[in-house]
Symmetry: C2
Subunit: 297 residues, 2 copies
């Protein structure tokens, strides 16, 4: 070190350009290289954003208060930051990056906030709506591995909204799990059950995310869908939806969860005998769907 | 619209590239053009960040939980999101963008969390330490307009930490404002007061921001400084610090607030008569500092 350097310590005068490198430099001793990469990259992009829009002090303060409200409304039953991530397309982007799927594997989409661990297990053909109101729906599904390997210990969880667009966990009057359940496919990977046609529904929009949607002239609706979570030994757990064709919100899902391969054909069926022998006095709907699981490396 | 377009609705299949344009497109009807610019720019930078680091689902979940904890620890007396903004250099970047100062104007820096509105007003020469322990400090300051115009209704608020690094609002045992006060400069813009030399202190580091600092091997310290907030008719309110020369943290301020023009020369003075005629039996310190205010357009 030169004598000059000693006499003139490197006191920094950051300007609106040089401060970014100064901040990144401050993270140079981060022990975990992955954390170092993530936080320095985040700093660079956040600073670039602030510079690009020439953020005012009042706008910065609004952002601080928005984030604070978003955190404070979170509870055991509400995750507003996940909702914010969903509505900014970040959740689906993370999903896309982490699920680069091989040919034949079913596409993934968001988990959503309404999954409940270890739902009740039901025998084949069970009506998970428990006779609740709605268009009767028969689902005939089958699961296979895209590797061609036989599947073992396949577990298929299904959950959905009712005709009013609510999940059972949003209805404190319900005394048992409704419109959700676990099925164990047979040796050929097949399982079937009865339910009702799901309905479109709005995401929670009485908080900060709802304010953002209103301010940006966006609607809070999600197109109707069944949720599936399917696991099997040696395969990546599949978390996905099967959307109802012709739903008005397929092209404007508030959380960007739609993929065309996940749109099912919920056919209109006339009165008569259903595939499981049930006598149907009125019209009903039928979904036949195939799930392909990606083998773990 | 062609018949083909009608028959094949534009169902989107977003991949990890195309989803960004799809999300930005969803904001196209935002009525306020400024909000539209800010939110679409934010989406682009956040998506670029996620792609650049190939963010995993677990990392995304960690970020969701970190932001949630950051929001939930906020209270009337604690703003953890401001602290996060400070420690990522965002607050000083916003400051730099919003205070492009003319020659001769005093540089700005962060307000910090310890300012109290309408502090008690004191006569010239008052000791804001109220005789508290520490090295005696005499401050002689003057304020002028960089436009050369005479200043009217000048108000100078000052506040600082004690020798242990705490502000009065952090000491519930104190019964009156201490180490803070308001002075009204004379017709020549001059004001002076007695106090003690401020000390370096750590920012709050028992929350999520503290966890971030530990994980990235950063310290939480700020170099010793006096805070000033100076206002005058027709001029931009100046919010700044005057740092103590030779402080060990001048080059590593946890919130990036240091500018070399804001480092004051707190001189060592021998026992004797101070500028206001006070007889000093022991050694004392003196700060002479000039503040230049930017005229409002």
């Amino acid at each position: 070190m030169s004598r000059k350097r000693q006499m003139e310590p490197a006191i920094r005068d950051f300007d609106e350009r040089s401060i970014t490198d100064a901040v990144i430099d401050r993270f140079q001793n981060t022990p975990d290289p992955r954390l170092k990469k993530i936080i320095t990259c985040l700093v660079r992009h956040l600073h670039d954003f602030v510079r690009e829009v020439d953020l005012t002090f009042d706008e910065w303060l609004y952002a601080i208060r928005f984030l604070t409200r978003t955190g404070r409304i979170c509870s055991d039953s509400r995750q507003e930051f996940v909702l914010l991530s969903d509505t900014l397309g970040i959740s689906m982007l993370v999903d896309a990056i982490n699920h680069r799927m091989p040919e034949g594997a079913t596409a993934t989409t968001v988990l959503g906030p309404f999954y409940v661990e270890n739902p009740p297990e039901f025998p084949p053909g069970f009506d998970i709506s428990r006779g609740g109101k709605g268009e009767r729906l028969f689902v005939q599904a089958d699961v296979s591995s895209v590797s061609g390997a036989p599947l073992k210990n396949v577990v298929a969880d299904v959950w959905q909204s009712d005709t009013d667009g609510y999940y059972d966990v949003q209805r404190p009057d319900l005394t048992q799990p409704t419109l959700r359940g676990r099925f164990r496919p047979d040796a050929q990977g097949r399982f079937h059950f009865w339910s009702i046609l799901p309905s479109p529904y709005p995401i929670s929009h009485d908080g900060p995310v709802g304010q953002m949607l209103i301010a940006t002239a966006r609607h809070p609706w999600r197109p109707a869908h069944l949720h599936f979570m399917i696991s099997a030994d040696g395969h990546e757990k599949l978390i996905t939806h099967v959307f109802v064709q012709n739903d008005p919100y397929l092209d404007s899902d508030a959380v960007f969860g739609v993929k065309s391969s996940l749109i099912g054909n919920y056919t209109h069926e006339p009165p008569g005998v259903a595939p499981d022998g049930r006598e149907m006095k009125g019209p009903w709907r039928k979904l036949v769907y195939h799930f392909g699981l990606k083998r773990l490396l």
